[in-house]
Symmetry: C2
Subunit: 454 residues, 2 copies
């Protein structure tokens, strides 16, 4: 049973002793979204939803928990050993809260592989959890935009996926000069290490792992690590030079083994023509760990001095579906955390000012006008206006103040005169001007038009 | 450590043996949302978001996991003992996946109680998990709309909360005759039992528990249970009669103790005037378990013969915030599962036909027109059109067929002639008609207008 005895005792203690004061803090590394925070998230997500649909991507979603086997087979070892929230359910099944969406995506695509129209263009913004030390840009609970395309031509798909990644940032206000897409291809470094540098097969994955963390090492530290892997100083220099080469230099260097580099150049040339050379950059040091990627890989970097770091990344994978017994179905995709994009917007000054969108507050004068106020609210809502009904009886001035605080443009009410004359009265909060409208379709339409013009 | 040894072994076995075939089934009681399913959920949620904003409610959200103490103190015993997914994190903290939103809501409101403008009108549609036997209308993982209002006048709040609950169903197509809101007040039955029937204090909660499950018992079974609680046959008849009384009869029966019943009648009268007597029904048997409710309680019932059951419910609670050391702040709210509302729509025939919303597919003829096709796609997206670029090279007819399958209204392309003449060609899929537009703002605007008119 996952609920420990300590937990149960605590539970019964607490329910017996109602006076115990509970903490108002949530679990570390998680977030409370108060309406202000939620409004910002909704703003960002609505831009992303719109963008994804403009590219023809359809939204999907899956469970928050999966059987542990799925992650054991599909996620990186680091995630599975160190970062999973895993546990047993009351039926002794071992589950884990999703640390990423790709294993679920692979499972879902595999389950309907034959029926799905190709290309499969899908996206999702799932909430995920990883046990990590919380820090700037990294929480334990986060949302992650996942964008993937399967089943087409890899050149066209790779180009499209990068174009959409660029547009994700542009749709929240970014300019080409704000960020950089660093692009590489898994085959280039493999080719170079085995065919040009003649690194023995058994040494290649250790060397790749070293290259993956190269930017965290000084030049001297890097040399020391290279020596440990039995590289000569010449080979180390060679490697260093390789990592500073242009794609053209690498193609000429690789000679007969240049196919992956030529493939990549093709993508890069098209991408520069479709976006800007400010934003597209060949970067032979980009590795993207050792997970499921097999072809082109990329990372998007923030260029802002206060936030110079990888925002998100992705790449091409060829074998993701086969483990479910289906055919191979190659794809390419990326994942972007919501924390990363909000931080990006923050440092570049792209966070909007968002307020509650109440159009009108209905106000009341006495105990006896409840029903007429609620009926007026109902009419205003029927027009499509966000309308708050009164639930606190207070003075006229106080009700006006509250309406201003929730961002209303006007207050509306029906006093005795308005009831007698079949009208309603409107006070415009910006000007203080007061107007009478007929309590009929024509009057409501007039009011609606005037409110929407303001 | 929550990850069992068995789990870890399995993990390394699987990563060593890539040929193992994984199941494409998710965890029982959870759902995969393929784009068709997601589209329906988006449709329902967008209606609900709009409705909630029209009442002035703001969206909030909180973590998927909380410290176990929060549920131990705030959720019902049944949930805590039997339905929680609880576990320890790698730092030995005991957590649980949220089985409901109200404890998180209470924590959040308590943490900023003083700053928040009253009334607090909040809603959320969180994903929750409970370990239950999956069955029709009940899953282990589900979303639940939560709507709450705090800090106003209880009569006005109670009326508003019911009006919004009625409108939640109406906004997805329901009519007043499709469902019923059964309303009661916790104080009525308490008053009746202690002041009129003179049931001893110690017996009241057992009796309430019996009443809560009365609709699952036959009349004879109910009598037997009453006897076990030492009720005389007279008292049992009395109780039975009480449960079949109108609110007016109950007010007269309770005499000096009728305050809660009068309070409730006030709400019911207003609600009938604002909606319909078809939909509002006094129902003295509604109890809503023994959780946090203290005043008015209600449940919404589907009247469809194939789905006669409680869809959702809620009520007034007076002490939810105090456990966090803040002041008392009374509120009223309800929770509605997404499974319940989808089932409701299904049996009443309110499920819409929703298709992918691609406006236009760009098509290609050769290896050399990639860039021009991608540029055309970009122009069309800039107009706000959902545009799919080609990623599979296939014959013209096949590309047209695919465009029809994704619901496009037109295909657009640039062959040699169009490149020379600075135009693009459009084929309208409904009529087969073909048209040439200038590859300039004026041409794009013309095309946009024509597409939006179709």
């Amino acid at each position: 049973m996952p609920l420990s005895k300590a937990g149960l005792n605590m539970s019964s203690n607490l329910s017996q002793n109602k006076k115990t004061v509970l903490s108002t803090q949530g679990y570390r590394g998680t977030r409370d979204f108060f309406p202000n925070d939620q409004r910002l998230q909704n703003y960002v997500y609505s831009k992303i939803h719109k963008l994804m649909h403009s590219f023809g991507y359809e939204e999907y979603n899956g469970p928050i928990v999966e059987h542990l086997e799925l992650y054991a087979a599909k996620s990186s070892e680091e995630i599975v050993r160190e970062q999973l929230y895993s546990f047993k359910d009351k039926g002794d099944r071992t589950l884990a809260i999703r640390p990423e969406m790709t294993p679920t995506l692979a499972r879902m695509v595999a389950s309907k592989q034959k029926e799905l129209l190709k290309p499969i263009r899908w996206y999702s913004i799932p909430t995920c959890m990883r046990f990590e030390r919380p820090q700037r840009g990294r929480l334990r609970e986060f949302d992650q935009l996942n964008v993937d395309i399967f089943g087409g031509n890899s050149l066209d798909e790779d180009i499209e996926i990068i174009l959409s990644a660029v547009d994700v940032l542009k749709c929240v206000g970014a300019k080409y000069e704000d960020f950089e897409v660093k692009i590489n291809h898994r085959g280039i470094i493999n080719s170079f290490l085995s065919n040009i540098m003649n690194v023995p097969e058994g040494n290649i994955s250790s060397l790749l792992r070293l290259l993956d963390k190269k930017d965290k090492l000084s030049s001297d530290e890097f040399s020391v690590e290279c020596k440990k892997l039995n590289l000569t100083q010449d080979q180390t220099n060679n490697l260093d030079q390789f990592l500073n080469s242009s794609i053209e230099e690498i193609i000429s260097l690789l000679g007969d083994y240049a196919a992956p580099a030529k493939e990549l150049k093709n993508r890069i040339d098209s991408l520069i023509e479709l976006t800007s050379e400010k934003v597209i950059k060949f970067s032979p040091e980009i590795m993207r760990g050792f997970d499921y990627y097999t072809g082109m890989v990329f990372e998007v970097f923030d260029k802002h001095p206060d936030n110079q770091r990888a925002l998100f990344g992705g790449g091409r994978y060829d074998n993701l579906i086969a483990a479910f017994g289906g055919d191979d179905l190659a794809g390419v995709g990326y994942g972007m955390g919501d924390v990363a994009i909000i931080n990006f917007m923050e440092v570049h000054g792209y966070l909007p000012e968002l307020k509650k969108e109440t159009d009108v507050c209905v106000i009341r004068f006495s105990e006896s006008d409840r029903i007429s106020a609620l009926k007026l609210s109902k009419e205003l809502r029927a027009l499509g206006l966000n309308t708050e009904s009164p639930v606190t009886l207070s003075k006229f001035g106080k009700q006006i103040q509250n309406a201003e605080k929730v961002g209303a443009k006007a207050v509306a009410f029906r006093g005795n005169d308005e009831m007698v004359n079949n009208t309603f009265c409107v006070k415009w909060l910006l000007t203080g001007e007061q107007e009478i409208y007929n309590y009929e379709k024509e009057g409501f339409d007039l009011f609606y038009k005037k409110l929407k013009m303001n």
